[in-house]
């Protein structure tokens, strides 16, 4: 691996990091705009044209706010909580294939930070680490509402991780690999051998279970019980102020971005788009178009996240647990059996 390769990798990492942060930043703006449109309002429109500078103003405000660490809180863990939340949110993007190979001069640039052969497992590891940020923050606040929010987050994430993992197992039975790059390559184009190549058409039930679990894992409505304002003031971030609060909110949006990217890669063909090799375009152009399509899919998913948030009211806690343990897990297991039967007898 030459120096040029290292520099290219480094640039790629910085670009992906910057993109996740910018997307998360503008997700806050998009969330408010989308919410406004769903409620027949206009939304933020004062900072800059159409309110486009609103995220900058919010960020500036967050940085300038007073930093409060409650007397009874554990100072070290109180700071570790949000740091861990944002860290685990950011490192998930490392294994996502953002596009095919790009040829610049004599260099072939792989638009993926690292193609490890346990990519899906890595994503799961990172996602399950994510709950520690919430747990530690809620625990260290030494506040009963924060603690309740943290406990809710922990039990909710554990419950939904099981069915998420089970829904992925059915997918892995079809793909036969854990590498996200290979999974994306298998969904090449749109139509092959008399059926769609995208996994959502091979695993519709699995995708449904996965997306429900993704909502629960990112603590998005209707599963936003950890920060349920009506019952728990602010949930796990009740005691937080300033940029530490900002990190928690930011982590949620980055998580949303990453899980949208994962869903697009696993089920919606990643960077593949219909007729990608029948248009007679050059390889580089196809790659760039692929990146554009991947981002279009990701933004569509983010919009869907918001759409659901402003449609469905929050679950009651026992309903949440019911749905997780009594509905989604049996469904996921049934999906595995069904997939096994179909792959055995139809091939």
């Amino acid at each position: 691996m030459g120096l040029a390769d290292i520099v290219i990798k480094f640039v790629l990492i910085v670009i992906i990091f910057a993109i996740s942060l910018v997307v998360a930043m503008y997700s806050t703006y998009a969330e408010r705009k989308v919410a406004a449109f769903f409620q027949d309002r206009i939304g933020p429109n004062r900072a800059g044209p159409w309110g486009l500078l609103q995220p900058l103003a919010d960020g500036g405000k967050m940085f300038l706010k007073e930093e409060i660490i409650p007397t009874n809180a554990t100072p070290f863990l109180f700071i570790v909580g949000p740091s861990l939340a944002i860290l685990t949110a950011c490192i998930g993007s490392a294994v996502i294939p953002w596009g095919q190979k790009l040829t610049i001069g004599s260099h072939v640039v792989d638009l993926q930070v690292t193609d490890i052969n346990v990519g899906v497992l890595y994503i799961f590891g990172v996602v399950s680490l994510g709950v520690y940020g919430v747990m530690i923050g809620g625990w260290a606040s030494n506040n009963k509402y924060s603690l309740l929010g943290a406990i809710r987050a922990a039990s909710q994430n554990i419950s939904y991780e099981i069915s998420m993992g089970l829904s992925i197992i059915a997918l892995l039975m079809l793909t036969g690999t854990l590498s996200l790059r290979e999974i994306a390559e298998q969904q090449h184009g749109f139509w092959a051998n008399g059926w769609f190549t995208w996994n959502v058409f091979r695993q519709p039930l699995g995708f449904l279970i996965f997306i429900v679990c993704a909502f629960a894992e990112t603590n998005r409505s209707p599963f936003d019980l950890p920060e349920c304002e009506t019952e728990l003031v602010g949930g796990y971030h009740t005691e937080y102020s300033s940029m530490k609060l900002g990190f928690y909110l930011f982590a949620e949006y980055i998580n949303m971005f990453i899980s949208s990217a994962v869903m697009a890669t696993l089920y919606f063909g990643g960077y593949n788009f219909p007729f990608m090799h029948h248009l007679g375009l050059s390889e580089n152009l196809v790659t760039i178009l692929g990146v554009v399509f991947l981002f279009a899919k990701i933004f569509a998913f983010i919009f869907f996240f918001m759409w659901v948030r402003w449609t469905i009211p929050r679950f009651r806690y026992d309903q949440l647990m019911d749905l997780g343990w009594k509905v989604l897990i049996p469904l996921a297991i049934a999906n595995i059996i069904l997939t096994g039967l179909i792959t055995t007898f139809l091939k």
Partner: protein, 165 residues
């Protein structure tokens, strides 16, 4: 019991069927409803730039009127102050001097005329009490301000602009 309005509906509580228990059809319906609203025109009126149209009989800020020759109509009789339920109006009367006939219509006029906009309830009784048709609540919304003393409006803010200027 017989219902008085005949609008009573007897509801049957049935156990939920499979589709209802599966949540998804209801969620789809909800998503369709919100998507319909997504494309609706917002009902927001961006206030300082656009203003909602007032009704015909809207009562806003007071104005002290002039007659067709541009003379102030108010004769400082005090009936408006007397009629005011919020006691928002005070005035000081003065006698018209020779040479001021083009300024004031009657021999007596209001040298000071003040309305406390924080007290005023915009009921319009001053308008009704005025025998000279000198005061009308035909203005705009009273604007916000920082200090209480700035809400006491004197003649500088209340009297209509002169005719030919």
């Amino acid at each position: 019991m017989e219902s008085l309005s005949n609008k009573r509906k007897v509801l049957e509580i049935k156990p939920l069927n499979f589709l209802e228990r599966a949540y998804l059809p209801a969620i789809m319906g909800g998503l369709a409803t919100t998507m319909k609203h997504f494309f609706k025109k917002p009902v927001t009126i961006s206030y300082p730039e656009e203003k909602r149209e007032f009704s015909e009989n809207f009562r806003g800020m007071h104005s002290l009127k002039r007659d067709e020759d541009g003379k102030e109509r108010c004769t400082a009789c005090g009936l408006c102050a007397l009629s005011c339920p919020a006691e928002a109006i005070t005035m000081t009367a003065a006698e018209r001097q020779p040479g001021e006939e083009n300024l004031y219509r009657e021999e007596k006029y209001a040298a000071v005329y003040e309305i406390n906009m924080l007290r005023c309830i915009f009921c319009g009784l001053c308008e009704e009490a005025c025998p000279k048709e000198a005061i009308y609540l035909d203005g705009d919304i009273v604007p916000a301000d920082y200090l209480r003393k700035d809400f006491i409006y004197g003649k500088d803010k209340l009297v209509e602009a002169p005719l030919n200027q």
